[in-house]
Amino acid sequence: MRKALEGSQAIAQTVALCRPQVVAAYPITPQTHIVENIAKLVANGHMDCELVSVESEFSAASLVLGAACAGSRTYTASASQGILLMSEVLYNIAGLRIPMVMTCANRAISAPLSIWNDQQDSMAVRDAGWIQLYCANNQEAVDTTIQAYRIAEATELPVMVCMDGFTLTHTLEPIDIPEQAMVDAYLPPFNFSRALDPANPISIGTLVSPDHYPEARHSHHHALLEAADEIIAADADWQQLSGRAAGGLLSVSGPDDAQIGILTLGSIVGTLSAASDTYTDLPATKLVNLRAYRPFPVDALRLACSGLTDLIVLERALSPGFGGIVSAEVHAALAGMQAVPRIHSFAVGLGGRDIPLEIYRTLHERIDIAEPQPFSIIDVEREKLPVEDHGIEVTETMT
């Protein structure tokens, strides 16, 4: 049934449908609304779980790790500094191959202090060994959260569902929250093969010498690569049940014969989609919505980019001193293709800077130059820079 819901509220209701037994979280905007809504569901008897308000994100991640090892389905959410504080545990969870799901309500990292949206937080834990799925809108976030449990439990890998903080979490949209029966039919009860049990005692998290460490890393890496099949299957099965797909590894929209493509992650997809309808005078453009960032879908990306002369990679984070994080990976993934498109790399919307529709025109203007553009942050305003930086070229939005 379609209801007008705030993103956080929708996620809370969806998490309840997935029947986690243990939820732990620490207040950090913007995911706080999710946990507050879960607390209301628990308080009103609509959700049967142990909700633990812990003393830090570090303990939130640790608590759900302990709970999962003791055999319970779990949930937690965080963002920004919370993700960084959790990061040691996030690596640990993935290395131990523990199935669990968390929401990252994407937000910028301090300093400078910002409470607003970008994706620097989840990018910072890119290599933790989690599956990372990015959501373009709140409906995708709802469907992806349900799918995430199935993927995590089938692959024994943790899944981070990334949704843009505020842009999605605090936005009211008509959302279809599925029926409990549908989710139950899709998601069998949690049955963790390595759950701790006094009747069959095992040791989890032992010391591994150089004799075995590379093998453990090899297995983990390949588990992530192979999880791609499960991500596709989980989405296909969900589509059969609900009539909605959430985008598999990546989804492509726009004309097949377009020569210009824009690849991005998260809610920018919606902005670009609306812009392409508005600016009909601009060349036909293919829009690539990268949903699975880990595992990185190399083959699907090559397929999506075949026939393109130019690919613009637009991302909400950067690696200072190098440039685009996603664009570097896109370069690597497309290297060796018969006709590699020219790749242009931009960061946009950092620290919650609004991304106007006009960005679409700006991007087209920027690539209308013979050489691929080096990485830059779009929309930097020269007069706001310190005087000593005024000489550096900036990329301004066309108005």
Partner: protein, 335 residues
Amino acid sequence: MSTAKQTITADSLVKLRKHQPRFEGIESGHRACLGCGEALAARLVTEAAGPDVMIANATGCLEIFTTPWPESAWRLPWMHSLFENTGAIAAGMEVALKAQGKPTKVLAFGGDGGTFDIGFQALSGMLERGHNVLYVCFDNEAYMNTGIQRSSSTPHAAMTTTSPPGSDRMGKRHLKKDILSIVAAHHIPYAATTSVAYPSDLRKKIRRAMEIEGPTFIQIHSPCPLGWGHDGEYSIKVARLAVQTGLFPIIELERQEMIGSMPIRHPRPVTDYLELQQRFRHLFNKNDARAVEELAHIQALADHNIKHYDLRGDGMDRLDSDGADTVRRGGMRWA
């Protein structure tokens, strides 16, 4: 079958013991050093706690020497996550078991570094939220696993690799943190100290904590021959002297109220304890006025403990076997 009287030999005694139905949570064959106080303490704890437990173990010696993959000394469901999150891991296990309706008790094991220092926040959170977890701190008074570095549990004036004595220093400059008071200040039902030198006291306290629904905390003084600088064969002697000098008071608290202590009828001078350990060697240079002064400081600390915790007791008791072997609880009730 022979009817001849069987002679009991050392070998047959070992076999007989193997047939005793005593539960062992941690097997022999682990890689602890000779005379390791922590290994013995962990065995005593798991024996007393029994098989229906689940363990969250902090990073440290205990974790390292029991689980060199692909081997494990544990016959209990056991997990190690990180150094500083043991309180939260144990809390997670506890709520999961509660959600599943299982009665299994959760134990958390940490060294003094993982408890007093880096894991302190997670421990405090676990205690404050009232999780039904028995947290056991194996206190060997320094970061032994990483090479004997000072922790906030290291006693005053002790030499460690990060508190070496020298022309400007006499070992650790600060006092040993009073973790028991801090833990008890969470108003948890039960917090106690014990020592590996007193196995019956240790077992008794573990069993008592196991019976309690809610957070409980037991600090076990566990000598580290390598870090303290004594032969492995003296571990128990050293641990006992820590108690008999008053430097490590054996006490019990319920909801922050002291309800029992191990009496010391004949206190020993602190030098009896200190002189056995290389970590205090620099205090025995008679030509160094600072050493003489530090010895006086340490004696004053012991005297303070004896007075503060009333460790001399109130006269000789009928069941008191000359001092520190029994624990007196309130009134005439004996544990």
